[in-house]
């Protein structure tokens, strides 16, 4: 018996230092995997999990994935439950209404929430524990409008937007940016997310004689509108929101239907750009058997920044928060740093399709965008 106890103690002495030296940390992943944001939420989950599965040397992350669906209370419950055990950070839902409800809980437990929500209010609550790794509308819409006016030299945009929070929020920012660029949209109209036929709104838009169509629509609506616009005369250029950069959205259309379509985005992983991005794409395909999008890459970068902070010695939630607030991090999509409100992403790209493939080319990059331009 004594021999057995001695052996057990010896084993513990051998294992314990290794366990602590490996920096075991817990990072729950609480994202929407079902409901209307399942597509984007799955990308968010995949990006986080890929980072957690490939941590920096010396860091051993533990995580569990919880589906927050779409109701704010489900996200709050999931967060409360997740924080019953210590965690250095939480990958938190990208759904605006959910992350807004999660913010007070994160602050109460003093645990940083890592998100890719585009909702502007997320970083306007004076909450020191939220970090957004996806550029908000205040960043990407500047890129979209500047590309229309400065590169395409268009002066008569028609804005077609979704009547959701996402659509109306983006439209408001687009209006403000176009105004600063001395351009007045000739047409603006919202379409419900359940609308199937885009011919009516296209007919009304064309009657206003625009020289470009500017879209702020969700994935299916974007694809529907592009398909119907492709067959119309005149064939106007389209500068869409980030939805069309998603490979699963582009897959709904034939390459020729995408000819001349451009869009803003935070990144376009499948377009490549560096060996590191190519490796990310290859790893992602191998792991999830699908194509990565900008949401996946942004959440990958955000989670990697947390893991690197842990590797650098931030083994408690408060230390991780301090590191995120103070440090710069060179991610795969861009360089991330906090603006003092938790906005970490300040770059956007414009990508365009050439009509031959469904892989877009990055044609313009905007770094360090000033939302107050």
């Amino acid at each position: 018996m004594r021999t057995r106890v001695s052996l057990l103690l010896a084993l513990l002495c051998f294992v314990a230092p290794r366990f602590t030296a490996a920096q075991d940390v817990r990072i729950p992943v609480l994202v929407p995997l079902t409901g209307f944001l399942a597509l984007e939420g799955t990308s968010q989950k995949n990006g986080a999990v890929l980072a957690l599965e490939h941590p920096p040397e010396g860091v051993t992350p533990h995580w569990e994935v919880e589906d927050t669906q779409t109701a704010p209370e489900l996200a709050v419950n999931a967060l409360e439950k997740a924080l019953e055990q210590p965690a250095v950070a939480v990958v938190a839902s990208m759904l605006g209404s959910q992350i807004l409800a999660m913010l007070p809980v994160g602050a109460e437990h003093k645990v940083p929430l890592i998100t890719i929500s585009g909702t502007a209010q997320v970083t306007e609550q004076g909450n020191a524990y939220v970090f957004r790794f996806f550029p908000s509308d205040a960043v990407v819409k500047v890129a979209q409008a500047r590309y229309v006016v400065e590169e395409l030299k268009k002066k008569r945009p028609a804005i077609i937007y979704q009547t959701t929070v996402y659509g109306q929020g983006g439209r408001t920012v687009l209006d403000a940016v176009f105004k600063k660029l001395n351009v007045v949209p000739v047409f603006e109209e919202g379409v419900d997310i359940t609308v199937n036929d885009m011919l009516p709104v296209l007919t009304r838009a064309l009657a206003a004689q625009p020289d470009v169509l500017v879209l702020q629509l969700h994935a299916s609506s974007t694809a529907l509108l592009i398909r119907q616009a492709a067959g119309m005369d005149p064939h106007l250029p389209i500068v869409a929101g980030s939805a069309i950069h998603q490979p699963s959205t582009a897959a709904l259309l034939e390459p020729e239907e995408l000819d001349g379509v451009c869009a803003e985005s935070a990144s376009s992983p499948i377009s490549g750009g560096s060996p590191e991005v190519d490796k990310f794409v290859a790893d992602y395909r191998a792991e999830f058997n699908t194509e990565p999008d900008a949401y996946a890459l942004a959440q990958y970068d955000g989670t990697e920044m947390v893991l690197n902070a842990v590797k650098a010695g931030a083994t408690a939630a408060e230390a991780v928060r301090d590191a995120l607030a103070a440090q710069k991090y060179q991610g795969l999509a861009m360089t991330y740093y906090s603006d003092g409100h938790g906005n970490m992403a300040h770059s956007a790209i414009i990508l365009c399709y050439d009509g031959k493939t469904r892989v877009p080319k990055v044609v313009q990059r905007y770094d360090n965008i000033d939302p107050q331009m």
Binding site: L39, V195, P200
Partner: protein, 291 residues
């Protein structure tokens, strides 16, 4: 003028697909007296199943259509076994809550089985467009109208001209009397569910080619079907078709004249007016009650 004709054609095509959804809704309503809130999700399931079938069996859409209908009919029977038969002696509100649950199961099942990505279903008779008299006619739009018309007329023939159809109608009108006459009531209800689900499957395949299919689209479709049925007449098969065409006309022709937001507001204005002035709907009330 050409634009108006084009819009009218789009309205007819969209309305034909909505009509299949609304017809299935009314068939179940008449057979059970309860609203099947999973009908829209059966449409979605039909779309996803067809998109899956075409990967497994790269066959023409016309061949896949009956497959999709049979598969969704089986799903409809499963929904019947889970959500209706165990509760058939309870109030209709119990059944409609259980059909909401079935709808959610179908939605989340689609996400788990096929992923959250939108999908495209194969065209019935090939893709592409036909240009005629200044109009652009999508082959799929024409196929959609023709297939929907055949299915609607076939369903009408089945119910009006066959012994089986008469038994189904007798069951829908008075279950107790039908049973007293020796009609196998449960089998008739099951057959009606299967037929309604098969129509939903056809609708899913037809809609999914032009308008894609997403896991959450069922909720929007059931709302449109509900509006169509209330406008057309609660329980009326003809009314369901007319209501569906009217909903589609508002979404296309009226939306082009005013805006989507205004068109939808006008549609609901018409709905309220009908409820106030002609509560039985345009084609009268055949059976059942509003759940």
């Amino acid at each position: 003028m050409i634009t108006l004709a084009q819009l009218a054609l789009n309205a007819l095509s969209l309305g034909a697909a909505y009509a299949l959804v609304a017809l299935g809704f009314v068939l179940i309503l008449n057979a059970t007296g309860a609203v099947n809130f999973a009908q829209g999700d059966l449409v979605m399931a039909g779309g996803y199943l067809t998109a899956w079938f075409v990967v497994l069996l790269p066959l023409p859409g016309l061949v896949l259509l009956p497959l999709a209908m049979v598969a969704t009919a089986l799903l409809g029977l499963a929904a019947l076994a889970l959500a209706y038969f165990p509760l058939m002696r309870r109030p209709p509100s119990t059944v409609f809550v259980s059909t909401i649950a079935i709808g959610l199961i179908l939605q989340n099942g689609a996400v788990r089985l096929f992923g959250p990505e939108p999908r495209v279903t194969p065209p019935v008779l090939g893709g592409g467009e036909v240009h005629w008299a200044g109009l652009t006619l999508s082959r799929q739009s024409i196929s959609l109208i023709v297939v929907a018309a055949v299915l609607i007329l076939g369903q009408r023939w089945l119910l009006a001209r066959t012994r089986l159809g008469r038994q189904m109608r007798a069951t829908a009108e008075d279950r107790t009397m039908a049973a007293a006459l020796g009609i196998p009531v449960r089998a008739m209800i099951a057959l009606t569910f299967a037929l309604a689900a098969a129509l939903a499957g056809a609708g899913g395949m037809l809609l999914g080619n032009q308008f894609f299919v997403t896991p959450t689209e069922g909720s929007a479709l059931i709302l449109k079907a509900y509006v169509a049925v209330v406008i057309g007449g609660w329980g009326s098969l003809e009314g369901a078709v007319a209501g569906a065409l009217l909903v589609a006309a508002f979404e296309t022709i009226v939306a082009a004249l005013v805006s989507y937001t205004a068109a939808i507001a006008l549609l609901y204005g018409v709905l309220v007016a009908i409820l106030l002035l002609r509560p039985e709907g345009l084609f009268g009330e055949a059976a059942g009650r509003r759940a």
